[in-house]
Symmetry: none
Subunit: 219 residues, 4 copies
């Protein structure tokens, strides 16, 4: 069975002469650093340390901190899209599909907290990195198309109410999850209650499903 990698599988590779590996290490380290400190608070030095590469190499491959941030952002979008594609919502009954999407969104955000802070950073900077991205169009989530189809199916089956904008619905699902998780610290402080206990998390998901289905379902 042949290796998938294009690179010849040399025995005993020199530890650090691997362009792909270096690039990936930088990307992952940068993702974590940007997620933890935001774009402004992230330190290129720290990224180099995390990735265990020479700082200069970051510039060799990514030109600047901003371009590195963009690369991280694009990767983050590529990742969530990939995960969405694995859901196969089209193969489910409409109500189940909506519930599955809600659950997925919730769980993906929990598993990938960096996604939330990366988006926050990009929005703080008014989306100027994404605006310069050649790959933004590819990010146009096909999920919206899928969601539209599910809503239409639900409606024609008499289950769902009509006139639901899939984008509005998607933003609502995401928003309910996002706000709770992204603002967890301030909310916990103000309400004086830990929002991240397993129980609290379970209740949140449950609530979200109730709200979304309560809205979508006829009656």
């Amino acid at each position: 069975m042949p290796s998938v990698k294009a690179k010849p599988a040399k025995t005993a590779e020199p530890r650090s002469r691997d362009a792909d590996r270096s690039q990936l290490a930088i990307l992952l380290a940068a993702r974590d650093e940007f997620a933890q400190h935001g774009l402004g608070g992230a330190r290129v030095d720290r990224i180099a340390e995390r990735a265990d590469v020479n700082k200069r190499l970051i510039y060799y491959y990514f030109t600047s901190k901003d371009e590195l941030f963009l690369a991280v952002l694009e990767q983050a979008y590529a990742d969530i899209r990939e995960a969405e594609n694995q859901l196969h919502l089209r193969d489910m009954p409409p109500a189940q599909a909506i519930q599955r999407l809600t659950q997925f969104t919730w769980e993906y955000y929990i598993a990938h907290p960096e996604f939330l802070t990366l988006l926050n950073s990009e929005n703080l900077h008014q989306g100027r990195h994404l605006a310069m991205s050649g790959r933004v169009r590819d990010m146009n989530s096909p999920l919206i198309q899928t969601l539209a189809e599910i809503l239409e199916r639900g409606r024609s089956e008499g289950l769902f109410r009509g006139g639901i904008d899939p984008i509005q619905l998607y933003v609502s699902i995401a928003g309910m999850a996002y706000f709770y998780l992204s603002n967890n610290h301030t909310l916990s402080a103000i309400f004086g209650r830990d929002l991240m206990t397993p129980k609290a998390r379970h209740e949140r998901l449950s609530h979200m499903c109730d709200v979304i289905l309560g809205y979508v379902l006829r009656n």
Copy 2:
């Protein structure tokens, strides 16, 4: 021998009005700067410029950048609480109160975009400023109490479903507004559609009310 200082030597004043004026100017300037650039990206120099005061004065009154940030944060919470108190939701029929709250949240966030970014910054820093605040407890929104009463009233009148957690509901309302507005730039880029036109804003509020009332109302 009279004082050389230009400032009028008022006889009995609670220790200079200039002090208050400078302090307020700094606070407002800081709010804008932090909102625009985040905590990490904000520059003390720029705040001094915006407030038209000597940079040293900022330290004189607020000790450090972090304490200034906290002061801004506390002010932001005080402001929204003040606004919430003006709503008099208790005086309305339950369904109307819920709708009014939804609308208020939406409109307040639009009128005070700085509130969103300030919260984002604080959460990026894991709520550590709020944690040091002596006034957090005061921020425990009485709105939750009010909301609980409204929900109970609606339930006892047979209008609302039972078992609704007011905190969950509040977070959902806020989240649907917050996410749309705070992530406006990335969402607009990805969906290729301007989410901030008057029409789009109107539709969003309408959708939010539908979702929330669809959930709250029995049937």
Copy 3:
């Protein structure tokens, strides 16, 4: 007897709380550093060291390396103009005035080798600093005007030939001195002869006077 300085003559001044002194120290240190290494080769760190001030202070007063260079350049021009003004060429007989100017130019360049390298740097950068200077116009050497008058006087007295452009003449005098001194190293290497011995210097000045007077004088 009152102090000329505007600043009150405090006894026991704190060693380093003197804005003027710091600024001047920076300017002098920068002049030497730029002269020695050129604009590109000059190091801000080294300037700070030479001036014995904190590096940050350089930016505090001069904003950037380029603006500092401009300040140095402007000072250099101000200095030579000041020296030219002391010559009182107008009070001399024409031939003597020309000779005096030649000698002055020669000696000023020798005493101020930094002037030559500063000009070389500025010209390497195509005069872009001077182009941004608000004070360029003030640098329009009144010497040219004086020279024109001297030439006219000499001509009307029947001593000088007519039709001499004072700018051309000035550039020739300066050029003969400048090239010899500025390119001293390459010339010495190529001709295999030290051009900077007292004797060689004396001969050069003598030659220059011969050439210039040989040209200017009728016959």
Copy 4:
């Protein structure tokens, strides 16, 4: 089976013509880069780009930036010497030879502005590259010898004044041209007059000839 390589497989060639080509490309690119930015401001990366070769190749052939600069410098001297040799001043009447030399110097500097900046750079660095050159001696311009002969011929014919040092004369001719051209930017700024118009250039050459011949010729 023929070689795939585009390069013709010459049988007996002194080890590849590509090598020479790359070396020359580097040399020319370096000359332009050094001329434009000076030694300190020149970038090895940019030279590689200009020459369209891998940066590493520059080190392969020239060892270091400084040695490359020296190579460029030596080439520049070789070039001007070659051009001087084409003048055949010896075959002309003395006065014409002097005039021809003046004109040649002027025109060569205009056609080769890089020569001026290269020399400036080398002198800024106190001639330390040339000092290390094994070929400096070859640069000892035979022109000086020629010039001496011309001056002697002119003197013995009763045309020229005696006692003229050919080196002094050469430096004066070169200096009058060099200063005008090399310092063109600062001079233009200060005199507020474009020194590089065709008319201005013509006048300069004319003036130079007047000065030099006015000096050299008896009377």
